[in-house]
Every structure is written in C-alpha cells, then in structure tokens.
C-alpha cells in the first residue's frame, strides 16, 4: 500500500549536525596533544594554544544556533558544568547550511597535565533549558529540540623542549 513518510526536514526544529567530513583533519586524532610552555616560552611570553573548531550543519538556515563548550564536564562536580565559552551561530536568509564559528582555543597552561575532555554542544538558542540533571546542556526534547555534541580528548603535557612544539593543531604564538 503506498505510504508517505514525512521527511526529516519537516520537523519543527531540525537538529544540527557535525559534518565529520568537514572537520579539520588535524583535529581528528582520537587524542590531541597539547603542550604547556617551555622555559623559552616563559621568557618570550609565548604559548602553544590548541585551536578547536567545528563546522555545524543545519538545514534550517534561519535558525539561531548556539554552541557551548565545556571542559571535563561531570554532573557530579557542579563547578565543571559551567559553560567555558559560548559561540552564537545566528541564522540568515542565505542558503548556507554549513556554518563556521564554533571555535574554542585551549590554553594548555590553564589546565593540569593529563587527559581532559572538551565537549561542544550545539542546539537552537531557544532550545536550551535549565536542568539540574544536565546543567547548561539540556534541551527541550519534548518540544522537538535536539542538540548535537562533539567531544575532543586532549592530553596536556609539559613541553619536552625549551619551546612548545609549533605544529597543528596547536601553533606557537608570541606577542609582536
């Protein structure tokens, strides 16, 4: 019997996606290395920040999205559930489904050495809802909102050399 099924695009709130094929290949290793300042960096005020950036695909180009970044998010540790950075990704009338602008720079010296988990959660701006079980990243699923998430694992280490390594995805930056 012929049937018609509503396509996904007829949803009230089309969920954003992270198009894996468009992520910078330097950010794809399972664990990203990040190095703290070496002694030469300390004297020159240089550092090797790790620049994380993710494309976000959204079929509804007019929807206002918001990307939220978290470090070591753990619901059993309330202080870890705070938003470290918010990237507003406003909609537009242009027919562009992949948006850039979800980006976060990790300064290895602001973290202890060892493994850390960096989460990016993106959803429609109006979809986020206050929650005690999933603070700052819950969305109103009952109203049709849905979030997309991406997780980076970074290994923060002391620089093995006088200067931290200048190679992607990190890059050594010094003041002019």
């Amino acid at each position: 019997m012929p049937q018609s099924v509503d396509p996904l695009t007829t949803r009230l709130h089309q969920p954003p996606r992270i198009p894996l094929a468009s992520i910078d290949v330097n950010l794809l290793p399972p664990v990203l290395m990040a190095f703290q300042k070496g002694p030469s960096d300390l004297l020159q005020h240089c550092s090797c920040p790790l620049k994380l950036a993710l494309p976000v695909e959204e079929d509804d180009t007019s929807a206002d999205l918001e990307a939220r970044w978290f470090i070591d998010y753990d619901t059993s540790n309330f202080s870890s559930t705070g938003i470290v950075l918010t990237n507003p990704l406003p909609g537009s009338l242009a027919n562009v489904t992949i948006r850039s602008g979800a980006a976060f720079t990790v300064e290895p010296d602001s973290l202890a050495t060892g493994l850390h988990v960096i989460d990016m959660v993106v959803a429609e701006q109006t979809g986020f809802v206050a929650s005690s079980t999933l603070p700052n990243r819950a969305v109103r699923n009952s109203d049709g909102y849905q979030a997309a998430e991406y997780r980076f694992v970074i290994d923060v280490r002391a620089s093995p050399n006088p200067s931290c390594p200048d190679a992607l995805p990190a890059g050594r930056t010094c003041p002019l």
């Binding site: 468009s22 300390l42 005020h45 918010t86 990237n87 537009s92 010296d109 093995p160 992607l168």
Partner: protein, 556 residues
C-alpha cells in the same frame, strides 16, 4: 533576462566590446573575459574585479576528509592582480616502508625498494614513531605534521600531500636510540622508504651538573639542536651525573636542564622546585661539538620558600574555590620558575617556589558570573613570609557598536554579527575568552570579561556579504557597563574561484565541500590573521568575502 539585454550581450559578444564595470556597481554579466574591463575577469557569468587595497594573502584549501586529494597551502596570492583565484589539488601519496636497526650501516634512508634494507641480519624496529613535518609551509603558523608508527615487523605507512617533508624517526624508548632526522621530498606516486636506524654508530656524552657546588639530581637533561629539537632521548641526572646517547659526531648541540617532572621538579639535594635553565653551550661558544666530558655549575639557587595565601571576591569577601593561581619568577638569572596550583574550597593556595621576585595572578573560572582575573601582582617571596591575599574584582561589563563600511558612515550594522573576544596573554596567564553576545538589531553587542587587552573577531552573517573584522582594544576595570569605541566593518572584496583536482585513476574534476581559508601574515611574519573562509559547492566554486584594507587584522 529581457530580450533587450540578451541582444546587447549578443552584440557585445560578437563585437568584442567591453562592458565597463565600476568597482562598486553590481557585477556586469559576461560570457568571456573580452566582455569585461581589461582589469576584470569573467567568472560564473559576471565580471569580477580585483581588490583595491588588500594585496598579498595566503590560502589553505582542505578537501573533505574522505577525499583522495591532499591539503594545499599557497602563498603570495596577489589580489591586486585578480580576485579570481583557482586552485588545483594534488592526490595524496601513499608512503610506505620499513624501519630496521641496521647494525654498523649508520644512518640511512633509501628511496625505492624498501625491502632491500630489511634483509637478513637487519632486525626490524617495531613501535618506532615517524613524524613527517612540512619543510616549507606557506602559512607559518599552520605547519602540518603527520605521525605514524611502525608495526611489529617495522613496517609503516602514511598518506601525505605532495611536498617536501622533514622526517624524524624515534625508535621506541626502550631501545635508547636517538631521533633520526632526514629530509624527504614526496613528489611522485608510490613512494617507498627504507630507513636504517644505526645501533652502534652512536656515541655517549657524559657530564655532571651542579648548582652552587651542589650536584643536581632528578633534573631532566636534554641535548637539543639550534632549533630546539631534541637530538637524544632526555635522561634524568643522578647525583649530578648524566650520560646522553647522541649520533656519531656528535652534531652541534646545547644542553637543556629542566625540571624532571611536570609540576616543577624535585631536586633531591637542592629541595623543591628545580627551575628550568636556559639552554647553554661550552664557555666561549654557543654549542658543544665534541663528546668531551661536560662539567657545568649553573650557579647557586635561592633557598626554597612557600608562597601561600587566599583568593577571594572583592565584593563579597567570599573565597573563590578552584581559582588557578600562577607564579612566574622575574629575577632572570638564566633560569625561570613557573608554578601554578588550584585554590581549595576555602580559597587557600600554596606554591612551593624559591625566594625571590615573582609575578602572581589568580584566575577564577572564565564564566561570566565569576569574578575577574586579579591581574599581575608583584610579590617578593621569602621563607616564612606573609600570606598573599588576592582579591578579584567583578568582571568588566561593556557594550559596543558595529558600524557599516564607508567614509563618514555611522550607520549601525544589523543583528547577528558574531563577536569573539579573547584576552591576550599577559606575563603570567595565557589567553582567556570573554563572554559575548551577537549584535542586536541596533548593531550593539555586549561583553563580559577580565580587564586587559583583547582581540575582537567579528564575523558578519553570511547574508551581509561583509568581511570579518579583527581589532584589538583595551578593556579597563570599571563598575557598571562601559562603552567601547565604535568598530567599523572594513569594505569588502569578494574572491571567487574553482577548486579542482585529479584523483588517482580519475580525471580532473571539481572538488565539492572543500574548505578555503584565506589568511594575511602579520607584521612578525610568523603568525597569520584569518581573513575569511568558504566552502566549495558541487561545482567546486567558492566565494569568500575579505576585508579590502592594506593590513587586515592590524587595526589597533
């Protein structure tokens, strides 16, 4: 299109006349370059001009990750000449080979038949790490590095873009072998490398280190070349003594003495912490070049001391749990101590340092509702000295207005302009992000952050067809919301082009979903400013809006 316009186009096409096109007008339609002004190029049916002010840019093109084509970086693109720039991507090349421990054969790298070096009596080196680094990246702060590891038979494989690569082979730590470096141009298909890592043509360099006559134990000792790259596996000093294994020669090297662990080091005979010493060579020379015994006294160190105190909010007096407290020594005696810790639930902290002068800074969580970073505090630390009480003010709140391009224009932009504010590093803490909002319908954005110098990156909505803007400004500490100087968006120049490439066994074809990033190199020549980014469509076409200014990103 009306019949009259079609007729006009037809007449022009046959007569070879040029459709004059002002830079600020809408693009004139065309079907060939002959129909455009001589300085224009016909692209996708429209006459495209060049930039008025923006000149040299660099570009990185990244095909989708499942593409058989490689990343391309190109420098010295002159947009004065044309704003239509096409790119051809090259296929990724399969590089494979085997790493063997080649007895007394010395360092070696054979291109061609990799199997010849893995003959009888040449044991394979499993677990070796091979790092390929772009030898001459067009974009100085986007250096591509690809790492692979040899398997149990010493065999490795990697896929690399066409380029010249610096190759470093580091045998597994258990072998004690030093890193092996080579320069390899990967230009053709089917590259096969045979890597011989010697086991006997090495030499040892021994020495002893002390500080004020006291042998240093537990310090990490490294031999590095003039670029700072290690030449040997670092060792830990024992009773001041060390033995490094270096390639035969040895090549010129300097010694780097540093903490033996990441928390600042424990030097058994000297107390905690051990500083990081600047690299050094022999007296009267910058580098060691022989294997002679090295005896070095790095000078007496100040006595150990504890820097302790509390971190509180200035308004409430309440402790700030989990604030990160960092201290950097400023005495500058050829060494530096940098320590940091996290304040406890009661806001207290304690740092083991050495007596002397320090810059100290407390940085609470970056969230908008948390207090601001304290700023740099000069402290003199002595054993048994007083506690340091750090009070953090509330974060500064500010708003700013974005203005459209044009001389004398004070018309505000619309809503939806993204603003990213990054506090630049000071002498103690690294960069921190501020909380920002996108512009509202009046072109106003809001910012909440620490006082300090900021880099603001403004990204207009796609429909505005305006370029990114990067500015620096100072955010002063203040009560209440303060007004920032108005920021004018730069005039745009649109760069167009096609990305195409030929996959192995295929024909030349457009590349869809490739990311095209444009950068300008800043005044240091070592860092870049992102100017704009675009993604190719199914036909491989892209268009990116860039700021048409002489020095983008350098606006104070």
């Amino acid at each position: 299109m009306s019949r009259a316009v079609v007729s006009l186009l037809a007449v022009c096409a046959f007569s070879g006349c040029a459709l004059r096109q002002g830079r600020t007008d809408a693009p004139a339609p065309c079907s060939s370059n002959n129909q455009c002004d001589p300085s224009y190029v016909c692209f996708l049916g429209e006459c495209r001009g060049s930039s008025a002010s923006l000149s040299q840019v660099v570009v990185e093109i990244r095909p989708p990750n499942d593409s058989p084509l490689g990343v391309l970086q190109r420098a010295n693109i002159d947009l004065h000449a044309s704003a239509v720039v096409n790119f051809q991507l090259q296929p990724l090349l399969d590089v494979k080979g085997v790493v063997v421990e080649a007895g007394d054969a010395g360092f070696g790298l054979d291109t061609g038949d990799a199997g010849t070096v893995a003959g009888a009596g040449t044991p394979a080196l499993p677990g070796a790490t091979l790092t390929f680094t772009d030898h001459a990246p067009a974009i100085p702060d986007r250096v591509h590095k690809i790492t692979t590891r040899s398997d149990a038979t010493g065999t490795f494989g990697a896929r690399l873009p066409v380029a010249t690569w610096d190759l470093v082979v580091q045998a597994a730590d258990s072998t004690g072998l030093p890193p092996f470096s080579a320069l390899e141009a990967v230009q053709g298909a089917g590259v096969s490398l045979g890597l011989r890592v010697p086991s006997v043509q090495l030499q040892t360099v021994a020495g002893s280190i002390a500080a004020g006559g006291v042998p240093i134990s537990g310090a990490s000792v490294s031999a590095i070349d003039r670029t700072g790259e290690p030449l040997a596996v670092p060792v830990t000093s024992v009773d001041g003594g060390f033995v490094l294994v270096l390639p035969l020669g040895p090549p010129p090297f300097r010694l780097q003495i540093g903490p033996g662990d990441s928390d600042g080091g424990v030097a058994a005979a000297l107390g905690d912490p051990l500083p990081s010493f600047l690299p050094f060579g022999p007296p009267n020379a910058s580098e060691f070049s022989t294997a002679a015994l090295i005896v070095k006294d790095l000078g007496a160190l100040p006595v150990g001391a504890v820097l302790q105190g509390t971190v509180t909010a200035s308004t409430s007096g309440l402790p700030i749990p989990a604030a990160r407290v960092s201290a950097v020594s400023t005495d500058g005696n050829g060494w530096i101590i940098s320590r940091s810790t996290v304040a406890g639930a009661d806001g207290s902290f304690s740092l083991q340092v050495r007596a002397g002068h320090y810059l100290v800074e407390a940085a609470p969580d970056a969230a908008a509702d948390q207090p601001a970073a304290s700023g740099e505090i000069e402290v003199t630390v002595v054993p048994g000295g007083p506690a340091l009480h750090i009070a953090c003010n509330p974060k500064t709140r500010a708003f700013g207005l974005l203005v459209l391009p044009g001389n004398g224009n004070n018309k505000a932009v619309g809503e939806g302009y993204q603003v990213t504010a990054t506090r630049l590093p000071d002498r103690v803490i690294s960069s921190r992000a501020a909380f920002t909002t996108a512009t509202d319908s009046a072109g106003i954005f809001h910012l909440v952050g620490d006082a300090g110098r900021y880099r603001l990156e403004i990204v207009p909505p796609h429909a505005a067809s305006l370029p990114r803007k990067t500015v620096q400004l100072q955010l002063e500490s203040a009560a209440g919301e303060i007004s920032l100087p108005a920021i004018q968006i730069s005039p745009p120049v649109v760069v167009y082009g096609t990305v195409h490439g030929q996959a192995p066994g295929g024909s030349d074809a457009p590349v869809a979903n490739a990311t095209v990033d444009f950068f300008a190199i800043d005044a240091s020549g070592k860092a870049t400013v992102m100017l704009g980014t675009g993604v190719t469509d199914a036909s491989g076409h892209y268009s990116v809006v860039l700021p048409d200014v002489p020095q983008p990103g350098l606006v104070p």
